[in-house]
Structures are given as C-alpha cells and as structure tokens.
Symmetry: C2
Amino acid sequence: MAKRPVPDIVVGRLPIYLRELNYLVEERKFITSSQELADRLGFSSAQIRKDLSFFGEFGKQGAGYETLFLRDKLSEILKADRVWDIVLVGAGYLGHALASYGGFLGRGFRIAAIFDNDPDKIGRPIGGLVVQDSRELPQAIQDNGWQIAILAVPAAAAQEIADTLVASGIRAILNYAPRILNVPPGVRIQYIDPVIDLQHMTYYL
Amino acid sequence: MAKRPVPDIVVGRLPIYLRELNYLVEERKFITSSQELADRLGFSSAQIRKDLSFFGEFGKQGAGYETLFLRDKLSEILKADRVWDIVLVGAGYLGHALASYGGFLGRGFRIAAIFDNDPDKIGRPIGGLVVQDSRELPQAIQDNGWQIAILAVPAAAAQEIADTLVASGIRAILNYAPRILNVPPGVRIQYIDPVIDLQHMTYYL
DNA sequence: TAGATTGTTAATCGATTAACAATC
DNA sequence: TAGATTGTTAATCGATTAACAATC
C-alpha cells in the first residue's frame, strides 16, 4: 500500500531482505523479527520495519514475521514471483560465466539468449545456448518481448549496444562494462564494476 | 587535507570520478570542469566540487580542472597509484572470468594467485596462473602479505573461507557469494550479486 | 495476562543542492 | 579586464534512528 513513491534506496534493500528470508526458510526458521534480520544483515531493526511499512503491515505485534509469508510478499513486490527472460550480450569469459551461473534460476531469472558480434563465437554453444549474431538482436528482442539485458561487452562497445537495446524495447540493463551509459528516462541501469569496488576499499588500506 | 573522516559515500564516488578522468585523458581532453564531469556521470556539479573539496583544492577558478593532474591526485587518494596483489578464491566459471579479465591491470590490481578446494581444479592453469590448494591459502597470504581477496565460491562456503582469509591477514574482500559476511571491524567488504541488482530493477518494470 | 515486537511518529542526523564571493 | 568556474557556506532535502503506543 505504497501511498507515495517509495525511495529508491528502500527498493534497493528489499532484494537483500528477500535473499535473507530465503536463507531463513532454508534453515527452517519460520518466524523471525526485525531484530534478528537486522543482526544478520548488519542493519538497524528500525530501518527494516520502516522499509517494510512502505508496502504494508506484514508482521504481528509481539510475534514478529512469518518468514514464508514475508518472503512471498517481498517476492510479489519485487516481481520476483515469476521468471524473467534475460538477453545476454557478450560471449567472452564474463558472458560465459554468467550464462553458466546456476544462481539465476530459482531467484527469478533465466538467460534466454546470448549474442555476440565475433564470428568466432557465433554458433558456439555456451551453457545450453548457442551464441547468436548481434545483428539479429533487435529483431529477437522485439519478437520475444524481452525487457531485461545484461551487457558484458568491452567498454568501447557498451554505449552503442545500449542504444540498440533500448531502441528495441529493453527497459532494464545490468551493465558490466566500466562505462556510464546514456539512456532515456524510464530505462533502468545498474552498474557492476569490480574495480570501482576494489578502489573503494583500497582507500582504507 | 581531510580534516574530518570523509563520508564513505563520498569515498565511493571517487573511483567513478577517476574512471571518467581516465576516459577524458584517453580522449585527449586535458581540461574539464565540474559541469562537464557532472554531465558525463549524471551527478550534479555541486556534488562533484563538494566531494573533491574534502581532499584539497584541485581546480582553478574560472578555468576548471586539469584532467591529468586531477587523475593523479585521485589515484593517490585511492591508493590506485600502485599495483595491488589480489588473491582469488574459487576457480569456477566466475573465477575463470575474473582471472582472465584484462581490466584489472592498468587500474591498479593484479590477480596474484588462485585457490580452490576441488582436486579436479587444483593444478590446472587459468589465465597464466595455476590453481592452488585452498589448504595452502593461510600460509600463502601470510608469506606474501596479501591484503585483498576476491571471493568467488558457493554461498555455503563463503563465511568459512572469509574467516580463514581474515585470520590470515586479509583486510578487504570483494564478495561475489550471495551472502552477508560476518567480519571483525577494520575489515572492508564489498558485495556483488547480480540478482540483487536485477531485482532492484524489476520492481520498476 | 505479561512479555514481546510491531508500525509509526517525531527527532536526529547526514547528504545534496543552491548560491555566491573569491579569483583565475 | 570580462567571463567563467572554483571552493565553500548556508539552506534544503531526505534518510535513519529513537521512542513508544498499539496490540498480538
């Protein structure tokens, strides 16, 4: 029951809560509290209760939260209660690792296709899929209605491919290329650059 | 000249500035402004000036910033003006991709060694290195004085390995396992979990 | 019931932005 | 110089936390 737009920073924490709830369920802990979650995640219990309160009342006073119930609620809110097709662009080492990653399925995502522009890679099988020619990318996106892409290409190629993706209907991009991408409003981007994270830490060493 | 502890959120943006400055230098743009940087990064110019002001005065009124100079200053601040050895734990697909990633060198990092506990993987060459036995990990960390580790192991093994790493002297961990890690104060952790980023975006779809 | 924990409000804390004097 | 842009201050904005009534 979100009356007002939920702060993006709150949305960003929900997947972390969801992941932890899944671990709790795995451990057969069917009841938890904001305090227990806070301890496990390193957050404050007040923050967890506040975050959840943007979306509804999921707990019982004095009793805490049912993990199965809260897990399902967060799944719904994040639209993680279905399987999303992802189109993967880039069939290098990283693309290979992502295509072979067992952690997507079971958490709501499936690599549906892999594209690359390297003739040596096109046609080769990777993790149960065959690498397709990048030139067929726009048509394939439109035909299949894919909305999510993972970019695992060299930095120099990232912006151009992003333009193609967006023009073809992609609305969310997980970008592994070490580049800020320019996209129109309404298209979401998340960035993963391990060097950024490493340099963040070396500051403190 | 940081008088007070610099907010961590500011430290976290410095690597992004540094990366963009390197692109500017590549493009042979030797002068820039907070406004140009802001446009390229999608930040506000005030924020960039404020962030930099925690560390000194790097620009000239009316003229802007010399990209080479500012790049070098940020490199120093982030300790990216040297090459850090990284110990990589986990020789699966992801470990393979990381070991073969060309983007570390040139940005201050070098995979110095790879460890795994799988007998089938130990002894095999990956990206110019030979996978070593995890049991030798503590000794190797101590002998070489490694301070940074990348964790690319299954979630179930992550905490135990993190404990070993920390006990052996590691002070910064880039964790690809989808788990919050418990470490003593003084040890930095950064998390990379693509599913978290994907679920953050599906909320808006 | 008594004890515990939620959901929520108000207070605090921190980060971002606007604005402008300083000055190159 | 005139124009431009920094560095910094103060104001605004937003996020986190503390506290507690509600209530299971």
